[in-house]
Amino acid sequence: MAEKSGYITGTQEAPPRVSEWRRFRRVFLSRGVVVFGLVVLVLVFFTAIFAHWLAPYDPYKPGVAKSLAQPSWEHPLGSDILGRDTLSRLIYGSRTALMVGFISVTAAGIAGVGLGVIAGYSGGAINLIIMRIMDAILCFPMLILALVMASVLGGGIWNVIIALSIATIPGYARVTCGLTLSLRENDYVLAERAMGSTNFRTMLRHILPNAFPPLIVLMTMQLGGLILAEAGLSFLGIGIEPPGAAWGAMVNSGYQYLLKNPILSFAPCISIMLVVFAFNMVGDGLRDALDPRLRGLL
């Protein structure tokens, strides 16, 4: 997006030049909740990367505490029915959540953006076919589609990633297709083509970079939704295989002991909520800082 603050319009005095990065940083960090989201995300990333140093116990090893222990100094969040330390499992669960989120968002992003650019740039029949298929996928609620796909592919974390990726492709394809349709009318695209650029080069060098800001916002916001969906699936028992740690599965197994040991379910629930909230807020902040015109659209 072009920075317009350097323009001299009419008799108005030119505003002082601000670098793009500094303007971005000022707008992005201007809201408290966005900063809070950013801090949460940094902490969660840190936790996921250094899980094996941070976790006080082996998350998979039963019997490190007594069964369903209440929170104590040794086990700050207590333990589950098998005597596994809840805090350690929570820390390892952040890996699952972020891994599923990031791999799905990248896969869906690449596929969706590719399809969207092709549809928007080619127009005509190709556009029609691709976009109707996207419409059809959008008819399935994400959780239902992911549930069916994951069961067809047969559980497992990688199949959940595939299922969630497919379910979220249409969002990127739609946005990219719309952007491409308007971007390809620009003079610089015409100029590029007049110079004999191939279609592929035009798409890659001129359309994609300009479609980037809205897409990065969409991806950030999708991450929250993906983590929520992964939690929903693992809550239903689809996804990570035991003894692996996933927040949704932890909620489900703790649910049976809700009265005795509510923290077993509540701790992973709160983690999910914090991370989803953080991604949404950072997405909001990115949108305002990168392209405020997207307000209400994304």
Binding site: F140, P141, L153, G224, L228
Partner: protein, 319 residues
């Protein structure tokens, strides 16, 4: 407008055909032979001679080429014949006719609650922008769109069900049978399903109200000397409601998707729970039918939303 509706209908029909293709062919990728699963549930697999398995395969039409199977399946849908459940040994159409009203009962109530309360909350937050009402409502809407549905369910079960003992934590009774019991049972599920829509509607309503208040016709209404009530109800609110309508399409999808979790948690015999149990039991006939019906509902709701859009807002021109 008429050409737009016709074009939109044709488009929806094409999407519907693609939906049937997706549902059918995705299900055929299922690991495991459905006939073997069927046999394993009814009789001793080892005791069954291969001819009998072939006979069964023919009985379910699974021996025919896949395109023929697809055409038969689609033709069956038109006759209202969704096949027979492998697990329940019952007509899937009948099974869904038992389960869908339950999901609809809760889902429609949730949709209504979410729409009415959401619009009111958004309206209040917008007209008292920056005041304490707004400062309470707006952060709550953030919580509403991020809270996992199962967290809300578990929190409510813990608080109102187990600690305070006010509400039953599971089960479903038809309202025709015992209205009071039925209502007590569905309060928590309805709230769970309504919260996301409520928060989303409130956010949308607030931002579109704030946008509308700067428009010339609203200023004119104020200048005419109309009361605040009249300006808001007659002029500002009407136009702000339009973007909220679009959210309805999204809301139906969210509720049908969420029913999978909510019905599992509250042990409600609706379509969502049937879906989960059929997936775990590899009852592909049922999964296929439910997935198709849910996608069709979402498609039709979105179609209605799109068409009513032009009717509600005459400024929108369709090329």
């Amino acid at each position: 407008m008429t050409t737009y509706i016709i074009r939109r209908l044709i488009q929806a029909l094409i999407v519907l055909i693609i939906v049937t293709l997706i549902v059918f062919f995705v299900m055929r990728l299922l690991p495991g032979d459905p006939i073997i699963i069927y046999v394993a549930q009814t009789a001793q697999l080892e005791a069954m001679p291969p001819e009998m398995i072939d006979n069964l395969r023919a009985q379910f039409g699974l021996d025919k080429p896949i395109m023929v199977q697809y055409v038969n399946w689609v033709a069956g849908i038109f006759r209202g014949d969704f096949g027979e459940s492998i697990f329940y040994h019952e007509d899937v159409g009948k099974l869904m006719a038992e389960r869908f009203p339950v999901t609809a009962h809760i889902g429609v109530l949730a949709l209504i609650v979410g729409a009415i309360l959401g619009v009111i909350a958004g309206l209040l937050a917008a007209i008292r922008r920056g005041k304490w009402v707004d400062k309470i409502i707006t952060p709550l809407t953030y919580v509403g769109i991020t809270i996992p549905v199962f967290f809300l369910a578990i929190l409510m079960i813990y608080l109102f069900g187990l600690r305070l003992g006010w509400l039953p934590i599971s089960g479903y009774t038809s309202p025709l049978e015992d209205f009071v019991k039925s209502t007590r049972q569905i309060i928590m599920p309805v709230v769970c399903m309504a919260v996301f829509g409520l928060a989303a509607n409130a956010r949308q309503m607030r931002s579109s109200m704030l946008e509308v208040t700067h428009q010339d016709y609203v200023r004119t209404a104020w200048a005419k000397g109309l009361s605040e009530r009249m300006v808001i109800m007659r002029h500002a609110m009407k136009n702000s409601l339009i973007p909220v309508i679009t959210l309805m399409g999204l809301g139906v999808g969210m509720i049908l998707g969420g029913s999978v979790l909510v019905e599992t948690i509250f042990a409600i015999p609706g379509v969502g729970r049937l879906m989960v149990s059929s997936i775990l039991g590899q009852d592909y006939v049922v999964v296929q039918a439910i997935t198709f019906v849910i996608a069709t509902i979402v498609l039709v709701v979105n179609l209605i939303v799109d068409i009513s859009y032009g009717w509600l807002d005459p400024r929108i021109r369709y090329g």
